[in-house]
Every structure is written in C-alpha cells, then in structure tokens.
C-alpha cells in the first residue's frame, strides 16, 4: 500500500517538482537570475497568467472549457486602460466626438468618473455567470459557446480601443511595481493567489459542492444543490479571476490592446493541466495551477539563458507540457501495476 500512496504523492508533487527542476536549471545556467531583481523580471508576467489559469481552472472544475478567456482578459485590459482611468471620456470614440465638436470639450462629472469602468467590469462578470447558467440550462457544449464569446469580447475590445493605447490607472501600475522587502512581489502575489483559490475551492464547504458538480453532478443535485447556481457561480468566479488577470496585465504593460492576451486561452489550459488538473471529474489543484503558470512563464527565461532563440519559447512550453504529462502517465502506470 505504501507504493500506491508513494505514487499518488509523487503525482501530486509533480507540478512542484517540474517548477523546482526548472529553477535549478536556471540557477545552473545563470546563478544571478535567482535573485530579487531576477525573480521580478522573470516572474512579472506570471501574475496575469496565473490569474487567467485560475479562471480557466474554475471552468474546468465543472467539466467545461473556456476558449474565450484570452480575449476576455484583453477586453478587461482595454477597459482598464480607458474607462477605469478616465471614465467614458477616456474612450477614443468620445474623444473623436469631442474633436469634431459633437460633444463639448469639458464633459460632465458622470462621463469622467472611473466608476463607469467598474460598472463595465461588473457587467463582464455578470455575462460570465449568465453563460454558465445558459450552458447548464440548454446543455450546450461550452467549447462552442465560449468560442462565440471569444469573438464577442474581441469585438467589444476593438470597439473600446480600436488601436492599442490608453493608460492604466495609476493605482494598478503602482501595485504591480511594488518592491516589498526581501521577497519579490511576483512571488508574494503568486502565493496569495494560490492560497486564496485553495481556501475558496478546497477548504470551504461550498467549494466541495462546486468541485462535486464536476465529479458527480447527480449526487450534488440529489443532495439538494442547484446545479444551475453552481455553474453560474463557477463561471462568475472565472470572470472575476479573469478580470484580475486583465487588470494586472494592464498594470504591467501600462496600455491596453485588444490582442494583448490572445495566447492566454491556450496557456491557461496548459497551466491547469500542468498543475495536475484534469478535464473531467472536478479534479483540480489551485496551488498546482499557479505553479503550472509559473513553470510556463519561466520556460521562456530558461531558453534565453541557454542562448536559444526566443522563437522556440512556445515550443519549450509545449515540450514541458508533454514531458510532465508523460511523467504523469508513467506514474499512473506504475501505480496500476502494483
């Protein structure tokens, strides 16, 4: 029996092992990278990716898949760079109208308040909740619905910000460039994200219900829980974490772009799987997902230390994914043979 539990532990530790292996490799290649400044540079972009990965994980928990998370993060970034900074007045469309004289040069308070941005972002989360409800109610394939939504978010982003630009609110920029003592900000942020998601989904009783909806929906329904509400809640949670991803991203890039996060869709799925999550059955690991996101981000740094052209960055991410999945299959097989 110890063999089985050993295999299970190994399987659980796989995300951590892959991350550590990568860090050791980076240390061997460039010891100076493992430092305060080094981590800041290498892991900055891991924050939005980790948040997007957690968002994707919420959707995967209930056996669905979100192909729109990338364009949604881009949409949030566009809103963040415009309406969250200067309200409706910050929209290029409104500025054009002002320039042509259709709108007065000085706009009333209501058009300048960043509250407009808050309202739009809240609307985004509502849309996510509604999608979850729709998918459950009509028993729709989530891949197709979110595929459609990816076009919708992209369209909205382009309407908000036809060309890259805008400016992120000062408070987000300050937050993303925090320099706390001793521990680099990205590491603190990653730990906070992982802990919050872990408590929310793994430690609360409703979290167990949410995961149960992926593992055994019938049992959850018979126990008196509304599956419709569970799905809406999980999608809303995904919308919330996706929003945080977009805001943290725009805090790093300081300006918005509709196409800024297109790769996040595939990266977030890869991160969840790398972190030990599974497509069906509600088997997820928030801590693993954050580690998976960090691993994927570090893969790029590793290549540059090895002096391999950045062309291969995406390839390295794919290779890591395959290696980790292969290791998992081997462990599973060893477990079964015992």
């Amino acid at each position: 029996m110890t063999g089985t539990s050993f295999a299970r532990n190994l399987r659980m530790l796989l995300p951590a092992i892959s991350l550590v292996v990568l860090l050791v490799a980076i240390y061997a290649l460039q010891p100076r990278a493992i430092s305060y400044v080094g981590f800041n540079l290498m892991l900055n972009l891991a924050i939005p990716i980790a948040l997007a990965t957690i968002a994707q994980m919420c959707v995967i928990t209930v056996n669905d898949l979100d192909l729109s998370i990338g364009t949604y993060v881009g949409f949030v970034a566009c809103v963040g760079a415009t309406m969250l900074t200067g309200g409706v007045a910050a929209l290029p469309l409104v500025k054009d109208l002002q320039a042509s004289g259709a709108l007065p040069a000085v706009l009333p308070w209501i058009m300048q308040t960043p509250l407009a941005g808050v309202v739009v972002l809240a609307f985004g989360i509502l849309v996510y909740a509604a999608l979850g409800a729709l998918i459950h109610w009509r028993n729709l394939p989530s891949i197709v619905v979110t595929l459609g939504m990816s076009f919708v978010w992209l369209g909205l982003s382009v309407l908000i910000l036809p060309v890259p630009g805008g400016q992120a609110p000062a408070w987000i920029r300050q937050m993303m460039t925090l320099k706390p003592a001793f521990i680099p900000f990205p590491i603190i942020a990653a730990i906070v994200i992982a802990v919050i998601a872990h408590i929310l989904l793994m430690r609360t009783s409703y979290g167990a219900v949410l995961r149960g909806a992926g593992g055994n929906p019938k049992a959850i329904e018979r126990a008196g829980w509304s599956l419709l509400r569970v799905k809406a809640a999980m999608f809303a949670l995904a919308g919330f974490f996706g929003m945080l991803a977009g805001l943290s991203l725009v805090g790093l890039t300081t300006s918005g772009d509709a196409n800024i996060a297109l790769r996040y869709t595939l990266l977030s799925i890869a991160g969840v799987i790398l972190g030990g999550g599974e497509f069906v059955g509600g088997r997820i690991s928030p801590v693993g997902a954050v580690m998976g996101a960090a691993t994927l981000t570090l893969a790029g740094s590793m290549l540059s230390f090895m002096r391999i052209s950045p062309d291969w960055q995406i390839g390295a991410q794919g290779a890591i994914l395959i290696v980790v999945l292969a290791a998992r299959t081997l462990i599973d097989r060893a477990e079964r043979n015992r």
Binding site: R138, G148, F151, L159, Q317, G318
Partner: protein, 318 residues
Amino acid sequence: MNAAAFLRRLAGRPWLWAYVAAIAVWLVTILFTGGRGAGEVLTAAFTFATFSVIVGIGQMYVVTLGPGNVDLSIPATITLAGAVATKIMDTQDGMILAGLLVAIACGAAVGIVNYALIWLLRIPPIIATLSSSFLIQSAAIAYGRGIRIKPPPMLADFTTAQLFGMPVLAICIIVLAAVMELVLRRTLYGRWVTAIGQNIRAARLAGIDVGRTRFAAYVMSAVFAGLCGYLLSGFSGGSSLSMGEEYLLTSIALVVIGGSSVAGGNSNVPGLWGAALFLFLVVTMLNTYGFGAGMRYLATGLIIIAVIVAASARRPAR
C-alpha cells in the same frame, strides 16, 4: 415523392439552414448596393470560404469522433506547411508538385505526432493537439525566419484563377467536399467514424478498430491543414507566420454552424460550405453597411452562440 414530403425531408436537414442564412445575408447585402456587385460578392465569398472549408472537413471528421475530440493544431500546421512548401518551391514552377507533397507530408507528420501523444500519454485530444501545436508553431517560426518567399507563379495563378466568375479552386474543393461526404456516408470508414462518435464502447464491441479509425481522422485533419497552408501561401503571395491564426476558431465554427453535432456521431459535409459562405457574407454585409472590425467580431460571435442555442432547441438535451 410529392412536393410536400420533399420539402419536409429537406427541412429536416440541419445543414440547409446555413445555406438559407447565407442566401438571406447575400440578399441583404446586394439590397444596399442596389444589385451592383452581386456577382463579385459571391466570387469573393467562394474564394475565401474555400480555405476554411478545407480545414473544416478535417476538423469535422475529428469532431465526429465524439466528445473531447477536437484538433487545436490546425493553425500551426497551416503555418508550418505553408512556410516549408514555399521554401522548397523557391518560386520555381517545376517544384509545384514537390511543394504539394512536402506540405502534405508536413501535415501527415503532425497528425501522426498528435495521435501518438493521444495514444501514448492517454491524454485528452485537446491537450495533445494543444501541446503539439506549441511545438509546431515554434518550428514554423524558427524555419520561416520571417522571410517572405513568393509562391511559384503557376501556383499563384492556379489559386486565383476563375471560370465564369467561379474560382477554380472553389470548384476543386466542392468536388473534394462531395467526395468526403460520400466517404462519410457510404464507406465503411465513414460509418466507423460516426459509430465511434455515437457510442465508442458499442463501436469497440462491434469489432471496429477504434484506434486505427481515430488515427486516420487525426492524420486526415492535419493533412488537410497542410494542404490549406500550401494553397493559402500560393493565394496570398507567400506564407506568413500568422496566416493560420484565424482558422482554429473558424474551423470549429463551420462544424457547428453547418449543423454537425458537437457531441459527435452526427455530421455532414454540405453544411461546411453553407457555413463558410454564411460567415464570409456576414462580414461582407457588415462591411457594406459601414461597420468596423469591432462590430464584425461581435456579430460573428453572437451568430455562433445563437446557432448553438437554436440547435439545442432542435435536438432536445440527452
């Protein structure tokens, strides 16, 4: 068969709606121009629909295999095959056939890798094709190195040739689609694919070689993606690193709008053409009416969602 029964039978075909919608959108478009440019709009629609239909056929066969089966490596394969083929051909007319073979070989190799990952690692096809697409995309970037090589003149001429306003390439792909519809409906292989999609366990018990059938479908999808990359690089004056990008979502959208079941086991090829024409004509219509890119994306997305909701009403949930 009387007329009413014929109409009823026709109405039962899910793919019909894609054509009805395409014609409706076309009419609305030429309404705006007062009939001018009606033919040109159709020519353009057939030209651009052709490329998405090629990859749509492969994607449809994969989707037919049942829930969880989808090929995410299509865009990367298009890009790689386009890049490799244009480099091999090096603008020489004599190398056209070699280029085609190389593009198809690229596709076949990708398909074999995809299925090897699915089979060896026992992972969901989405993850397998996703991780291989990362590798293929990188290979394409590293191989292409951003230099745009022109396609051989003869290939460029062939991909842009027209016969009475109808693109020659579109005619070829209509024939290909017809053949693939026959394969799906009338051959043992097609019936196997459908059977696996309907109930994989029953299919296995019935003695179908599930592994080989799925393998063939994934290889086919990748080969069509390679073919698409080859033709696309001929059509658009060379390959580019982003040329495959839009075809991931488009290929899935075609399958859905064309009336095939996303859960697998129930597909049709004619719907792909209807859906491809419809999607292109919607974009043309919005362009004609002066809407920008944002509105076009928005409309495309809402249409996809509306179609899948409507389809769920037609087929009650299991």
